[in-house]
């Protein structure tokens, strides 16, 4: 029952919000309160056998297995700290209740989709999360937020549609079986394997920020209030990854083509997003591009395991660990952007130390959670024995270089740039942030040890130290050279956030301005408007005039006689 409680608590509390109009203090605590049980349950490391709810949906199943435990630990932690943070951040917001409502519903969706063990429940909570988080994106209500929200919801809907078509085909392949663990084997066997995998990759890719459907992300993640950005970019983005794990035939069938495509797209995202991110001037936007880049690395790992099913028992937990590490660190960085404006001078030192630690973790510096994740990743690649292993390792190390560059840019923008408007108090924001920082440092280790993941902890030999440090050193070197010698135009190079979609919007605007075309007019056009058309046909006046014209002619004997005789003949023929 505890699993059901975890999901229901946020929904229940969301429903109570209208009754809490006059208790803003209590309302503020709801977010943290609702997520706490999930966090506590996850970090306690208890697994739960399958729970069946045959009456719910089309027969609902919930389960907490080791893989889900890692995801629940991530989301439970992030939602708890972000909820706690939101209490202070939104204390002076007139629409705080509305925010809280959508925050709780998105949370319920996120927990639910992790625990779900059947397709319909999974999809239901996925949809809940997608639509509820629209409320988080547009919360601030300014033009920018509405634009981001519009692009978010359009992409979200496209994602739903792709996902649903993948679901239809997958269930057709399983022969009606709705359990998630039956999906991947059936997809592997299906004649339409390629189609299903493509649809699922793109459908979940919208959430996960995969090429080519990522571009809503740098618009929507930063524009939301900071606690919402943290969960969007740290926790909800992982729902896409989890979806891939359920749909792609990992550990079942080797798909060399799919694997190659995923690896290419993954590295494309990993490096491309850094290039675009370096051209951004807003700290949160840079973090959003960094998320795309990190999700790209996870896509690479996914692609590698797709070609080597035998490695999946280790690759799966590694991937989950990577997700945990990235989610926590990214969440901490996002929350940090809001702490800075309210941070007193004497605490600034600690603040920057924390932010640099989180950034180093993402860059994979030794002893951090990032090193743990990258170590696991490299172990997998060593075991593939493929001819590309050397290339993959090199690219992976290069991605550490680019990640360091991007995060250095982020810290620089945060330090030098215009500070974002201050919300909340230092204590209200700083304490949850510090709590999250603690888990950034310890969480992934704890997960490996405590959750019994089949992973080995790295032993820090000099080689490993070097391996972890040279990319960071190289990145810092590049940075110094860049700042000293690069022409000024390079430094101020900028790409509008959302890159591709901006070009698309311009295209649409220019087409619209050239062709005076409107859906409304087109469909109201008389030719297509059957109502008007039929009205005219059955119009009383014209109908009457036709009858009026006919009647005198019927009076003519010749006509009448002709009709009469033909009728008689007709009946006679019928009788025969």
């Amino acid at each position: 029952m505890i699993l059901l409680t975890i999901i229901h608590l946020p929904i229940l509390l969301a429903c109570l919000i209208p009754l809490m109009r006059r208790q803003p203090v209590l309302c503020g605590w709801l977010g943290a309160l609702a997520a706490l049980p999930a966090g506590v349950l996850a970090w306690s490391g208890l697994l739960w056998p399958e729970l069946l709810f045959p009456d719910l949906f089309l027969g609902s199943v919930l389960v907490l297995d080791p893989l889900r435990l890692v995801f629940l630990a991530l989301t439970g932690t992030l939602w708890t700290t972000a909820g706690w943070y939101a209490r202070s951040y939104l204390a002076d917001d007139t629409q705080a209740e509305r925010f809280q409502f959508f925050f709780l519903l998105s949370m319920a969706g996120n927990f639910g989709l992790i625990l779900a063990a059947d397709l319909i429940t999974f999809y239901g909570f996925f949809v809940l999360m997608t639509f509820a988080s629209y409320g988080l994106v547009v919360h601030s209500g300014n033009q920018e937020a509405h634009r981001a929200g519009r692009i978010y919801i359009i992409m979200g809907l496209i994602g739903e549609v792709l996902l649903l078509s993948a679901m239809f085909l997958a269930v057709d392949a399983t022969g009606g079986e709705l359990r998630l663990d039956a999906i991947a084997p059936a997809v592997g066997e299906s004649a339409q394997r390629g189609l299903i995998c493509t649809l699922a990759f793109l459908g979940f890719g919208v959430k996960a920020g995969a090429i080519p459907v990522y571009f809503w992300l740098p618009l929507a993640h930063p524009v939301a209030p900071t606690p919402a950005s943290a969960v969007l970019s740290g926790a909800m983005i992982k729902a896409g990854l989890l979806g891939w794990l359920h749909f792609l035939p990992l550990g079942e069938q080797a798909l060399p083509t799919g694997s190659a495509v995923l690896i290419l797209l993954g590295f494309g995202a990993a490096f491309g997003a850094v290039a675009l991110g370096l051209c951004q001037q807003n700290a949160k936007t840079i973090l959003a591009y960094s998320s795309i880049s990190q999700m790209g690395l996870m896509t690479v790992l996914l692609g590698t395991s797709l070609a080597h099913p035998a490695l999946w028992p280790v690759a799966g937990p590694t991937l989950a660990l990577f997700a945990l590490h990235h989610g926590l660190a990214k969440g901490a960085l996002f929350l940090g952007t809001g702490v800075l404006p309210v941070c007193p001078v004497r605490w600034q030192r600690w603040f920057w130390a924390g932010m640099i630690l989180a950034a180093l973790a993402l860059a994979g510096a030794p002893l951090t959670s990032g090193a743990l994740a990258k170590y696991g990743f490299k172990e997998i690649i060593y075991q593939t024995d493929g001819s590309y292993a050397g290339l993959l390792l090199l690219l992976l190390s290069l991605s550490s270089v680019t990640t360091t560059l991007l995060l250095a840019k982020f810290l620089r923008v945060l330090w030098r740039g215009k500070p974002p408007p201050a919300h909340g108090s230092f204590h209200g924001l700083g304490i949850p942030w510090a709590a999250l920082m603690l888990l950034v440092a310890l969480g992934p280790y704890l997960a490996v040890v405590h959750f019994n993941l089949p992973l080995t902890l790295p032993e820090y030999t000099p080689g490993l130290w070097l391996d972890g440090l040279w990319p960071i050193g190289l990145a810092l070197l590049i940075l110094v050279f860049f700042l000293r010698f690069a022409p000024k135009t390079w430094r101020t190079a900028s790409v509008p956030p959302g890159d591709g979609v901006v070009l698309f919007e311009r295209l649409i605007t220019s087409i619209r301005s050239k062709i005076p075309f409107s859906w409304g007019d087109w469909w109201d056009h008389e030719f297509l408007n059957f109502t008007t058309l039929s009205d005219r046909i059955i119009d009383f006046e014209s109908t009457r005039s036709v009858v009026n014209r006919i009647e005198p002619r019927l009076g003519v004997w010749a006509v009448f006689g002709f009709i009469l005789i033909s009728l008689i003949l007709g009946f006679v023929l019928l009788l025969l």
Binding site: F57, L58, E160, L164, W523, D535
Partner: protein, 499 residues
């Protein structure tokens, strides 16, 4: 077996009686009229409940009365009849409450409630009809009983809409009449389920059967609002909100679709229709209607008109499911018959509340309306999300079975069609939700409250909330024992022994 033949006439009569009695009351006798109405509505729900209970215990309810030689008035209960009569009796009860609140203090309520009751009599009659002739009688009865409701407001616009409505439905009825007589001449009085009667004729009279099928179907297609015979539906939205709710969700359109289901499965038989090659054209028309209705809906700014076109599109889901001719698709169609009704009635209730409480009819005037009418818009949101087909609202369940059904019979195009329709639904529903919840109001809302406690009189609000809750419950508990899916499954299993 005890003699329970009284039950079926009682179900039909439970609304006919009050309906007739209401005409004998005076206009100002409000309390007795309300009492009669509610008595009839509650009694009908109870009686249908009894019939349902009995039916699942294995009882067989039938009522026969010979009108003329070879011509029987025949009522009978089967699972499909139950499905439709449960839908119409429950939603009628809710709508009665709503209508009492909606028309409070307006003129001509005697006429309204009288015909209102008769209208539902006709719709239960259609549900319980055991042969083609009885079905036809009630079908035409329904046309005549709804006309006074459509023109109730008596304005020029209402009268024009009523005229359009009559032209379409009487026209359709005439064609259907030709079909029914033709069928009678060919095969005698055909009871529903006697598909072998026409099956025997199929060899030598294939052409004639095909023509007959086309004639009957085009008669029914008017009420089922299949393109291009849907024109009356958007016009009829000038009627008061409870009538629109009834037209769109329960009575008229459903009668058409229900007729199509009966004709295909219980008169011709699915195998015969498939052999004649008539399923594919019907599926094509339904597909066209789905897309066309949605595209037209996008262009509407008037809230009720947009909802009306949405009905055109959503109803065609049912015809599509039937026309695909597979077990799962038919299951989806039957489930949608009920689910669409519950969701659409919610939307129309809400549209009525919005029009009555803040005098807003256009979508472009709805900015920030969620702050003035939070509960109403909450219910509207549930209905709209259900129409898009998002879980946990009921609409998802029907869409799910339709899509799987399409794949089951090898029509892969059904999936993109359904998803396109979902997208189009999102295009015309989501902007309404965004306006209501996320846009600041253009001015101050009228703060005058007709109800001290709620945002609008409770008689209007609660029906909407109840049907909204029902829409969620039907989706959320779709797999439990007493839901639509189970009854529909029973029906489908009788038609497809191995679904």
């Amino acid at each position: 077996m005890t003699d329970q033949s009284w039950l079926l006439p009682a179900i039909v009569g439970s609304s006919l009686g009050p309906g007739i009695l209401i005409f004998f009351l005076r206009e100002e006798q409000v309390a007795p009229r309300i009492a009669l109405n509610l008595f009839g509505a509650i009694l009908k729900v109870l009686l249908v409940g009894v019939a349902m209970h009995g039916f699942f215990q294995g009882e067989n309810y039938e009522f026969r009365y010979a009108i003329a030689v070879d011509l029987e008035f025949h009522l009978r209960v089967d699972a499909l009849a139950l499905l439709f009569s449960v839908l119409s009796s429950v939603l009628w009860l809710v709508t009665t409450f709503y209508a009492i609140g909606y028309l409070k203090g307006s003129p001509n309520r005697r006429r309204f409630f009288g015909f209102f009751s008769i209208c539902v009599t006709a719709s239960t009659g259609i549900a319980l009809a055991g042969n083609v002739v009885t079905f036809f009688i009630f079908y035409e009865f329904l046309t005549l009983a709804t006309y006074p409701l459509v023109v109730h407001q008596g304005t020029k616009k209402a009268l024009e809409a009523g005229r359009t409505y009559l032209f379409y439905t009487i026209g359709g009825g005439t064609v259907l009449f030709v079909g029914v007589v033709w069928l009678f001449v060919l095969a005698g009085s055909v009871e529903f389920g006697q598909t072998e009667l026409l099956g025997e004729l199929s060899g030598e009279q294939q052409l004639q059967l095909m023509l007959l099928f086309c004639v009957i179907l085009s008669g029914l297609a008017v009420k089922a609002a299949l393109v291009p015979l849907h024109g009356w539906l958007p016009a009829a939205m000038v009627a008061p909100a409870p009538v629109s709710a009834l037209l769109h969700a329960v009575a008229v359109v459903k009668a058409g679709v229900f007729g199509i289901v009966r004709i295909i499965y219980d008169v011709f038989g699915i195998d015969l229709v498939r052999d004649m090659g008539m399923l594919y054209p019907l599926a094509g028309i339904a597909a066209l209607t789905i897309v066309f209705g949605s595209l037209r809906a996008i262009a509407q700014d008037d809230l009720k008109r947009r909802l009306a076109y949405s009905t055109v599109s959503q109803l065609a889901y049912i015809s599509l499911g039937v026309a695909l001719g597979g077990g799962l698709a038919t299951l989806g169609a039957l489930v949608h018959l009920v689910h669409q009704g519950v969701m659409k009635i919610t939307l129309f209730f809400c549209a009525g509340i919005i029009a009555e409480t803040v005098k807003v009819h256009r979508i472009s005037e709805m900015n920030g309306i969620g702050r003035r009418l939070p509960l109403t818009m909450g219910a509207f949101t549930v209905g709209a999300l259900g129409m898009i087909g998002l879980p946990p609202v009921a609409g998802f369940i029907s869409k799910w079975y339709l899509g799987l059904g399409g794949l089951q019979v090898g029509y892969g195009w059904v999936v993109p069609l359904l998803l396109l329709s979902s997208l189009l639904n999102a295009i015309y529903f989501l902007p309404i939700l965004k306006r209501a919840w996320f846009c600041p109001p253009d001015g101050e809302w009228e703060t005058h409250r007709s109800s001290p406690r709620w945002e609008t009189p409770g008689m209007l609000l609660f029906p909407a909330l109840i049907t909204a809750a029902l829409s969620v419950a039907l989706g959320l508990f779709a797999a439990s024992d007493w839901t639509v899916v189970k009854i529909a499954l029973e029906i489908v299993e009788s038609w497809f022994p191995h679904p």
